[in-house]
């Protein structure tokens, strides 16, 4: 989608190139003048604020003034289908423009819904437990089904699961948005490439970092304020006590947005984050996606529901398999624990587990642990 580059927009790109992600500096410089074109002229005429800038930024601004630099950037963007928008533009997300330091230019690939009825950012650990994975997928899916926009950060773990869940809502038009900590054309982590492609297909990846910018550690806190800024509410799924998640939740508070948390099992490391937030009153506990929808009184009837779980009657299974299922209903167990509890010969234990796995009733987990595959089946004790 090519956009006509007016003098004003060219000046904005120039100043954005110089200040990069430093949105507050951008605001400070611009606030002295009526227009960006004027700002650029003032810079060229050597206004007194120029000398107060750090040398590195002055150098970038001078570099961007040379012919060819911005033209090359725009050419690159067109080639990679990268679009951009800025505060005041009709495509700029309305929620984001309300925060105190909105990105001066937001680059994106895909399509942005500037004013979604409901937008929820889902954040959490990169190393979730199976519970966290399930919850993130379920919330992502049901929120997207109800027409909400799911905002995530394309990291491994909760972020990826939330986006995956949202994409599973096949009828949602624009189910998800991913905010990157690098240029929008850089896929990080590389393991999420397929997810990245699918998000572009159905929604958008956005970033305030210049296209081509590499990942840096310090980018993530800066990125996090955009995630919370893009959303009406932020949902914490699983996180350790101190983590990037608490930074994002902090931004959400500062921006006057709601913070929700899904309670976790006490004692688990990944429960400490959300449970702690709930305990301190920093987050509202939620037990189902509907509660979030109710909160914003936009409860749509989901357009589709998950394929109903297969109901498996325990009585339809053999005695040994029934005993295994009964044990696993109370939570995951390792192979050794199963052996100790059931006193079955190891051989038949192995055989039964394989059969249960292939009939879709149980699932193997890393570390030779097993659990009931709750996504696919529901056990009935008749």
């Amino acid at each position: 989608m090519t956009r006509e580059i007016t003098e004003e927009i060219a000046a904005r790109l120039w100043l954005n190139y110089g200040t990069e992600y430093n949105a507050r500096l951008f605001q400070r410089i611009v606030s002295r003048y009526d227009s960006l074109a004027e700002t650029k002229n003032a810079f060229e005429n050597g206004a007194e604020w120029v000398s107060a800038l750090p040398e590195s930024i002055r150098a970038r601004l001078r570099e961007a003034r040379q012919t060819g630099v911005l033209e090359r950037l725009i050419e690159q963007m067109e080639k990679k289908n990268i679009c951009f928008t800025f505060p005041g533009d009709e495509r700029y997300p309305k929620l984001l423009s309300e925060i105190s330091d909105p990105p001066s230019v937001l680059y994106y690939i895909g399509k942005i819904e500037p004013d979604p009825e409901l937008s929820i950012a889902m954040i959490g650990s990169r190393h979730p437990s199976k519970y966290g994975v399930e919850v993130a997928k379920r919330f992502g899916y049901e929120l997207a089904c109800a027409g909400a926009l799911v905002v995530s950060g394309l990291a491994e773990g909760i972020d990826a699961c939330a986006a995956r869940g949202a994409l599973d809502a096949k009828h949602a038009i624009c189910p998800t948005l991913a905010v990157l900590g690098c240029g929008v054309d850089v896929v990080y982590p590389a393991s999420n490439r397929i997810l990245y492609e699918e998000i572009i297909e159905r929604g958008a990846v956005v970033s305030e970092f210049l296209p081509g910018a590499r990942v840096e550690r310090y980018h993530f806190p800066i990125r996090n304020r955009v995630m919370s800024g893009l959303a009406h509410g932020t949902l914490v799924v699983e996180a350790a006590e101190r983590s990037g998640t608490s930074i994002t939740a902090g931004y959400a508070h500062d921006q006057g947005r709601d913070v929700f948390a899904v309670p976790g099992r006490i004692g688990d490391e990944m429960s400490a984050g959300p449970n702690g937030m709930i305990a301190r009153g920093e987050a509202k506990p939620v037990f189902s996606p509907e509660e979030i929808l109710c909160e914003f009184s936009c409860l749509h009837v989901p357009a589709e529901t998950r394929p109903p779980a297969n109901i498996v009657l325990l009585s339809s299974l053999g005695e040994e398999q029934r005993a295994i299922c009964r044990l696993l209903k109370n939570g995951e167990m390792s192979f050794d624990e199963l052996c100790d509890s059931l006193a079955l010969p190891i051989g038949s234990m192995n055989a039964n587990l394989t059969e249960l796995q292939f009939s879709g009733i149980i699932q193997g987990l890393p570390g030779r642990r097993y659990c009931i595959d709750t996504d696919r089946v529901k056990l009935k004790d008749i």
Partner: protein, 508 residues
Amino acid sequence: MLSRIKSHGLNGIGGFAVQVETDIANGLPGFEIVGLPDAAVKESRERVRAAIKNAGYVFPAARITVNLAPADMRKEGAVYDLPVALSILAASGQLGAHVNPSFVTFGELGLDGGVRAIAGTLPMVIDAFSKGETIFAVPEGNAEEAAYVEGVTILPVSTLAQLCEHVRGDTEISKHPTEHWQGYEQRFATDFSEIKGQQGAKRAAEIAIAGGHNILLIGTPGAGKTMLARAIPSILPQLTYEESLEITKIHSITGATKGRGMIRERPFRAPHHGASSAALVGGGNHAMPGEISLSHYGVLFLDELPEFQHNVLEALRQPLEDGFITVSRAAATATYPAEFVLVAAMNPCPCGNYGSKIHPCRCAKSQIERYRGRISGPLLDRIDIQIEMPEVGFLELSEKAAGEPSSAVRARVEAAREAQRKRFAEDGILLNAQMNAKLIKRYCAPDAASEALLARAYAELKLSARAYQRILKVARTIADVEGAEQIALAHYAEAIQYRSLDQSGREA
């Protein structure tokens, strides 16, 4: 005057007859050894000179030429000291007229005329015996290992003077009594009963040894991978005479059997992960056997498998398939047997805690993939059994009852191996792991219900064709361990559990 003494040389574990000829001629005193000798053989001149003197004989002050025939084979080591000294004494007439001893001899000399044990005695005796020689004068320290060969006469030699007297007919050396092979009660460092918990892994180890399958143990640090691996020799079947002979032959080449006689335990080799590919598969100037040949008929344990250099692991692929290795070097080419059970162990991820409930794993997905990627697919395909070992908490450890003793497990292993021996009587193999595609088809054909289960496994686990065949072989072994004639559905189902790495590749 001219003399001839019979000796022997080694090339790999095979050998060749060597004639030590000495000519003593008038002229400037000198001592020359010809016939492609290496540095150690050349140095023997000094040892021989001193040994003859100190044994009470005279080193002739004449022009001495020693030839090691055949002249086109390279001769190595100090094994020719004894025949060279004997040959010089015979040529100079100090042992009486017309000396033509009927024995084959080899041995290293000390300056005092004492005879030292050498490497490679057993393979030389076996090879020379097969070429028609029956009497051997060998260093005393090697006499025991050599005396196990049926039909040979072994004369243990402790000094040069002793052998000279024997040749002259003054004092006969009494022959070493023939050793007879008997089953030896072995003692092991670790018994299966000492391993608490980990019943699944113990069962997998039993199946692996019963069918000769390679096994990979995956588990968090402290799960007991190394302990289990070290206990595996205790469930290996007892060595037979032929196996022991072959093992001793290989170990004899490296000199490990000096003064120890025959090797009676199955080898357990655990090279460090810094090992080079020459150390593992064999190499060096003289194409020496590597760890894989030294673990012939035993266990090769590779701990921390992904830490081994890539090329080292890849070098394992061919011997794993063939059961032998041909080591080619500029100076020599040798073929060594290498039929071993590979027991490998690895952590599930770089930090080791992937899948742990106690210590959460901090590795990124890409790190885990890279870590596991260090073991190539083709190598992994050759490992029939991959088993994850769940972590064991401290409390569980102290509470668990002792398991089955190794002797009980070994009895089942031996029974299963016997069943395999009967089945393959006409196929030229011994173990299920050695079955080729044709034999798998003949002996592992699944019935309709099993076929359906396997088809699902094939699709869901995205198995390679090779991995599919491995499952069939392992199922055959499970049936053998259970004493079943036919492979049942449960056996196939259990075999599928032993493709751990295929399974964990399936997560979201």
